[in-house]
Symmetry: C2
Subunit: 354 residues, 2 copies
C-alpha cells in the first residue's frame, strides 16, 4: 500500500515522476543505455539539463529578465558559503528566522561581518520578525522564506534596497511571488523539486563580479553560468528527476494551480489544529507555513493511541523536529489533499475517542 | 539491445545494480515508499550510508587503520578545494600528469603556494614523470592515479615523507594497492563506483586539524566525519547505488578478483592496438592505463568506415577527448570482457578490409 507521506524532506514526489525516473535507470529513452551510464556531455543529457534550466525560469516568470538557473551540488548548506563568497565584500544583513538562517549566518561569518537585521530567537522562532530596516550600504540581504523545523513562512518580503538573497529550499514553486525581487534564490531539490542531490540556484547575473576576493572555481557562480551548469559532472539522476517534476508542475498549470491546492491543504490542516481541543499549533497564526504545519498533542497520555492510529492509517513522516517536539505535517506540492484528509480524520477520530 | 558501453564517465554499471536501483525508486524494500522520498535520518537510509562507508574500508583493506570514509557532493572538483582548505598551511607539492592534475593545482593555488614536483606537460601528458623528489617540509603531496583523458596510470607511488593525497576518480577499486600509504583518497563515483552525484573521500583522521585557517563547515572533513557523513542531506540515490556497486564488487571477490579481469581486458585491448598496423597507442607503453586505452587511427580515410562498423556492432562511447583526438576505450570494472572482444573484433575486421 502506498503511504501518506508527510516527510519533511527528502519528501513525496509525484507518482508519475517516480515511474519515469525508475524506467530511465534501466533504459533511457530506448537508447539501450541507462540514464546513469551515459556521458553528461551527450546530447541526451545536455537536452535534459537545458530543459530543466529553462523550465525553472519559465515557471518562476523570470524569462528574459537577466536570470540564469543552475543545478549545482552540495545542498543549501553549500550555498550558505557560496553566496558569501560571491557577494560579500564588507558586510551583509541576515534575517534570523530559525535553525537554517542561523547556519547561513554562521557560515558567512567565516568570511566577513554579518549583521542580524532581526531575529525571532527569543521565542524559539515561532514567529517572523517584521518592521526591521535593511541598511542600504550593505552588500546583500539574506532571508529564509520558509522554516521547515518551526513551521513559519514569510508571507511578504521587505522592499530591499540591496540585492535580496533567499533560501527557498522548502517552499520554492509552491506559491506565486514576484521572483524578480530577488538577486539570488536557492533551494535544495528534496522538497518541492526532486530527490536529494542537486541544488537549484537562480541568479540575477548583474549582481555578480563585484567582490575583490579570489573566488575558487567550483564556488564561482560566473564560472558555473559560463559552463551551462556543467563546470564538472552534474548529478545526472537528480537533475533528470527534477526536470520531470518541473514538467509535471507545468502540466498541472504551473505555480498558480499548485498554490490553490496548497492553500486548500493548509486550510484543512490548520482548521483541524485550531478546532480540535487535543492539539495546539506551534507557529504564530499569521506566520504559519503552508508547507509545514507544526503542532503538539496537549495530553501526552494520548500519544501512544494517536501514533498507533496514524500507523494504522498508513500515515508516515509526521514526527516533529526534536527542537520543537510534537508533530509536523509537511504538505509539499506532490502531497495529495487526500493525504491531509486522512490525517485530519485520524485527529478528529482521536477527539471523539478521548 | 544492450550496448557495449565504453563511456569515459558517467559510465557502465553492473546490470544487477541498475535493476535494484530502479526498483528502489518505486518502492524501497517493501516500505510502500520510494527510496528518494524517505528521510535521510530514517533507519532505512542511515543503514545504507553506514553499509556503504563500511564496505569502502573493507574493500580497500583499511579497517581499523584510522581511516574514515565519507560520501560527499560536488565531484572531485570540489575536493581540489577541500583538500587544500583542510591541509594547506604553507606549501604543497603536486605531480602534474594531465588536465585533472592541472585543475587541482589551479584550485589549490587560490589558497596558497603550490609547487609542481614534476610535470609531463612537455609531451601532452603522454607519460608519467618519475624520479622526482618530494620536499619533506611541505604540507602534503598530491597526485592523480589515473589520467582518463590521455590514458596514463601511475603503476607505483612515491615513498612520500609527507601525507600523500590521491585523486583516484577513474581507477578506484580497480586494482590492489597498499591504500594505507595515502593520507586522503578521493574519487567521483561515476566511473567504478556508481552514478554521478557523490564523491568518495577516504581520510586518515590523524592528518587533519593541523592548519590555522578557519575552515567553512561544509568544507571541513572533521565536521563531515563527526556527523557520520550526514552534515547535511546526502545524495540519497547516488549513495544507495554506490552501496549496491560495492556489494556487487565484494560478491565478485573484491578488488583482487576484479583486478584480474581488468588485466585481461587491458591485455586484449592493447595487444590489438600494438599488433594492428591501422592503430597507434597514445600513451607511453610502461604508463598505459588499464582503465582508459587511448589510440588513433593512422589512416584518416578509414574513419567513416570504422565508425559505422562500431555503430553496427552496438559499440558506444569510444570517441576520444578533444585534446587528444582519436579513440578512447574506457574499461571500468563493470565492463564485461565480451565488450572488449567486440571492439577488438571490429578493429581487426577493419584491418582485413583495408
Amino acid at each position: 500500500m502506498k503511504k501518506h507521506n508527510f516527510s519533511a524532506g527528502p519528501s513525496i514526489l509525484p507518482q508519475e515522476v517516480l515511474l519515469k525516473a525508475s524506467e530511465a535507470v534501466i533504459d533511457y529513452n530506448n537508447t539501450g543505455l541507462s540514464l546513469i551510464e551515459i556521458s553528461h556531455r551527450s546530447k541526451d543529457f545536455v537536452d535534459i539539463m537545458e530543459k530543466a534550466r529553462a523550465l525553472v525560469l519559465e515557471l518562476l516568470g523570470l524569462e528574459g529578465k537577466g536570470y540564469k538557473a543552475l543545478f549545482l551540488q552540495g545542498g543549501a548548506s553549500t550555498q550558505f558559503l557560496m553566496v558569501a563568497m560571491n557577494l560579500l565584500e564588507k558586510r551583509a544583513g541576515y534575517l534570523n528566522t530559525g535553525a537554517w538562517s542561523e547556519k547561513a549566518i554562521k557560515e558567512a561569518q567565516m568570511l566577513d561581518d554579518i549583521y542580524q537585521v532581526a531575529s525571532s530567537k527569543d521565542a524559539n522562532f515561532n514567529y517572523i520578525p517584521k518592521g526591521y530596516t535593511i541598511p542600504e550600504d550593505y552588500d546583500y540581504f539574506h532571508c529564509t522564506s520558509n522554516n521547515t523545523i518551526v513551521g513559519t513562512q514569510l508571507k511578504s518580503f521587505p522592499n530591499s534596497p540591496i540585492p535580496m538573497v533567499c533560501d527557498m529550499s522548502s517552499d520554492i514553486f509552491s506559491r506565486q511571488l514576484d521572483f524578480s525581487q530577488f538577486g539570488i534564490i536557492y533551494a535544495g531539490a528534496q522538497k518541492n523539486m526532486g530527490p536529494a542531490g542537486t541544488t537549484l540556484v537562480v541568479v540575477k547575473e548583474d549582481i555578480l563580479g563585484k567582490v575583490s576576493r579570489k573566488i575558487p572555481s567550483i564556488m564561482d557562480y560566473k564560472k558555473h553560468i559560463g559552463s551551462g551548469s556543467m563546470l564538472n559532472t552534474p548529478p545526472v539522476f537528480a537533475v533528470y528527476t527534477s526536470m520531470l517534476t518541473l514538467e509535471w508542475l507545468k502540466g498541472l498549470g504551473g505555480i498558480a494551480a499548485v498554490e490553490e491546492e496548497n492553500e486548500k491543504k493548509a486550510r484543512l490542516m490548520y482548521s483541524e489544529i485550531d478546532l480540535n481541543p487535543l492539539f495546539k499549533g506551534f507557529a504564530a497564526k499569521e506566520d504559519r507555513s503552508y508547507m509545514n504545519a507544526t503542532f503538539t498533542l496537549e495530553n501526552e497520555n494520548l500519544k501512544e493511541t494517536f501514533e498507533s492510529m496514524l500507523k494504522e492509517a498508513g500515515i508516515s513522516g509526521v514526527n516533529g523536529h526534536r527542537s520543537v517536539g510534537g508533530y509536523r505535517a509537511s504538505m509539499y506540492n506532490a502531497l495529495p489533499i487526500d493525504s491531509v484528509k486522512a490525517l485530519v480524520e485520524v485527529m478528529s477520530e482521536l477527539e471523539s475517542k478521548a
